[in-house]
Amino acid sequence: MSQWVINGIRRGIKTTAYPRGTEGAAGVTPGLPDGGQMDAATGAALLERCPTEALSQTDGNVTVDYRRCVHCYRCVRDVERPLDWQQTYEWGAVRDNQIEFGPAFKRSIHVIVVDAGDCGACLNEVKQLNNPYYNMHRLGFFITPTPRHADVMLVVGPVTDYMRFVLHKVYDAMPTPKRVVAVGACAVSGGVFAGSFVCAKRLAEVLPVDVEVPGHPPPPLAILHGLLVAVGRKTPASVLSPPPAAIQADAVKS
């Protein structure tokens, strides 16, 4: 047994500097495309390639809706003028005006994870939050199997019909105040499964959603950011790129 302890210590500390610092290791995030100014013809060509209508075009600007992006890379690979690609990971966005969770919840939160038809990737990324690289316990986040102890409900997957009932049951069993975090493009916008007759279009159809984490799947750091946003410890990101405010600012300048 002592061998395990010695071995564990020898591997050293692996934990990321995030959220105090930033994480710069390669491969921690798939990144997301960046919208921006572009002439109409090039923009239209990119719009046509996008399978989930995540791109839109308004007078010289291509806007990316992160909620719909499924990382198909069709707007950057095998095209003449690709979009810029950003290696960010702070993707958690607030859906509505958030009411304060209260200071008691800032540093100790119990999270229940419900799989509502997930492909396995989002769930695997949530699972990674418990490995030494991310170690979410250090931030006061704990996974709980029972809704009675849960403050935050984390939902992955495109919400299949069978799981609606389970979602409601879990939600109703949670004590208030409570938060719902939709993780992954499927829970946020239905992703590639949006057209299925047994899937909801988005989790918000079924439950009141507070925080959305886009990405297909969002990397562990993005999910962590979503949780930190839910308890008010990080500022939320925008689901649009460029964010609406930036477009307005540009217009004022010109």
Binding site: Y73, R77, V113, G117, G157, Y162, V166, G191, F193, F197
Partner: protein, 526 residues
């Protein structure tokens, strides 16, 4: 048995009832067969001639049903597709379950989704469409089914209770799920017990059914490729590859050599990562904290290696019909290989330490036992089957992507317990790195993409996914849209046989056995 012998045997045994027809290319033999001869013919293929059952593909044509039972053997034996046709108003077919038990769930699925009846099947109904939620006579895969009316067919039966099978005094059903434990996929397990031991275990699946086969109908190949890649994303590359191979086979496309070698490299990287993930789950289930952390580090390392090489941690957005969407530089591949070798070194060290931890071994050895005979009868696939001594690996049996040019072993064990499954996973991880080394050495400059012209037709694509053989059946219309898309993932077969390993073991062994099976609910529920 080679093809000519097969033809002779079949035509001698069933003169007038079965006709053999060889495809122009490839190793497929189509046998058109009478309904009466079907069960026996399939039984002989499966039991006597040692073909494996790949799946039942049901197609509703313009005027008739086509039921296609796919079997495959080693090398020259190739593929045998047994076909039965019948007019659309005839929905009763003979069941082959008596001889081919591996087809059990395939027939249940076809009964639920197409409304077919299989005479002689012991238990139909309550499978994909749960009895407590759906009315009778809903047939979502039929062409006349209107998805918009789906909600009208719903009912909610609060009084529904699972059928109890064990009739012992004091027997009760312990339901686990659909939401259970920490971070787990949704599935319901009905464990029947009289106290400590699990006597019967009935998994109730399809809570995550997204009706992907229905969703794919009428869509373009490009759109359906996204579904193929994303319905079970922990093995996304393997499933995307199986779909691409099916379409490429219909269109007679030639994939450039460089793209093939890169595909092999990426497929093996995915296998290595998925096996590391499975090993982490086993360590977690046995509550070995340091081992769990070490394996967790390894899995994350491999995810980061994939992310650094391809930008996506689960290898999305790389495959394209006729090759790859983007090229990877030789240097990047070499770097990924070196990092993978480093990860493997840590995996080997972990194995050495696990081998000496008695508390760990006690929970795996002689627990969750699956006999070779059972593995055969249930048609188990992948590492689970190979741990019971059932050795059939599609990379060897029916090579694709030029796997025949790679030098590798197919690891296997005889014991069939949890520890044997763990050893197979570890040995396969080593073989994957071995193949990756050869792939990097075989990388020569060249094109990575050949345009594919879509045309009408149907074909089967197969891949040895990390969890076992994956079979994708695709039929294209003349305008290049999907007429029928059928996915038979490895977890579908392995869930079917999972109950074998849990029965007669104690409750506390259940999560451990579940983790050693490395099952994916998403793959099964598709």
């Amino acid at each position: 048995m080679n093809r000519t012998e097969l033809k002779e045997q079949i035509e001698r045994r069933w003169p007038g009832n079965a006709r053999c027809h060889f495809a122009a290319t490839g190793l497929t033999c189509e046998v058109s067969c009478d309904r009466a001869a079907l069960p026996e013919l399939c039984g002989r293929l499966f039991l006597a001639w040692e073909f494996s059952f790949a799946g039942l593909m049901v197609e509703e044509g313009a005027s008739e049903w086509e039921l296609r039972y796919c079997f495959y053997g080693d090398g020259e034996a190739g593929w045998v597709h047994v076909l039965v046709n019948a007019p659309l108003d005839q929905t009763i077919f003979p069941s082959i379950v008596k001889f081919v038990h591996a087809a059990d769930w395939h027939e249940r699925e076809a009964e639920d989704l197409f409304g077919l009846t299989f005479e002689g099947h012991p238990r139909l109904g309550d499978f994909v469409l749960h009895d407590d939620t759906w009315q009778e006579n809903v047939e979502p895969m039929r062409r006349h089914f209107d998805p918009k009316s789906a909600m009208h067919h719903r009912k909610s039966d609060a009084d529904w209770r699972p059928r109890r099978i064990v009739e012992e005094p004091g027997a009760f059903v312990m339901p686990i799920g659909p939401k259970y434990s920490g971070v787990t996929e949704s599935a319901l397990f009905l464990l029947e017990t009289v106290g400590e031991d699990v006597i019967r275990s009935v998994p109730r699946l399809f809570y995550k059914w997204r009706a992907i086969e229905k969703l794919a109908e009428g869509k373009t190949v490009d759109q359906v490729f996204l579904l193929a890649e994303r319905f079970a994303a922990t093995t996304a590359f393997a499933h995307g590859l199986a779909f691409c191979q099916a379409v490429e086979s219909i269109c007679g496309a030639n994939v450039p050599t460089r793209a093939q070698v890169l595909r092999v490299f990426l497929a093996e990287l995915e296998r290595l990562r998925q096996h590391a993930g499975a090993i982490q789950e086993i360590c977690e289930s046995t509550a070995l904290v340091v081992a769990n952390s070490q394996a967790g580090i390894l899995e994350e390392d491999l995810l980061r290696i994939s992310g650094e090489l391809t930008s996506h941690r689960y290898l999305f957005g790389l495959l394209a019909l006729g090759g790859l969407l983007c090229d990877l530089s030789n240097d990047a591949c070499r770097k990924a290989l070196e990092q993978s070798q480093q990860a493997l070194k840590h995996l080997n060290e972990l194995e050495q330490r696990l081998r000496l931890s008695s508390s760990f071994l006690d929970r795996l050895e002689e627990v969750g036992f699956v006999a070779l005979r059972d593995a055969n009868v249930f048609g188990l696939l992948g590492p689970v089957a190979r741990a019971s001594g059932l050795i059939r690996d599609l990379r060897r049996a029916q090579p694709y992507l030029g796997y025949e040019n790679f030098d590798f072993d197919v690891p296997s064990e005889q014991e069939g317990d949890g520890y044997a499954r763990l050893r197979v996973l570890l040995a396969e991880a080593r073989q994957s790195v071995r193949i990756m080394e050869q792939a990097v050495a075989a990388l020569h400059s060249g094109y990575i993409h050949e345009p594919v012209k879509l045309r009408e037709g149907a074909a089967l694509g197969w891949v040895e996914a990390p969890r076992g053989g994956a079979f994708h059946w695709v039929r294209l219309t003349d305008d290049g849209r999907i007429a029928r898309y059928r996915i038979v993932p490895p977890s579908f077969a392995n869930w079917h046989g999972f109950h074998l390993s849990v029965e007669k073991f104690a409750f506390q062994d259940f999560p451990i056995i579940l983790s050693t099976f490395d099952l994916s609910v998403a793959e099964n529920d598709r």
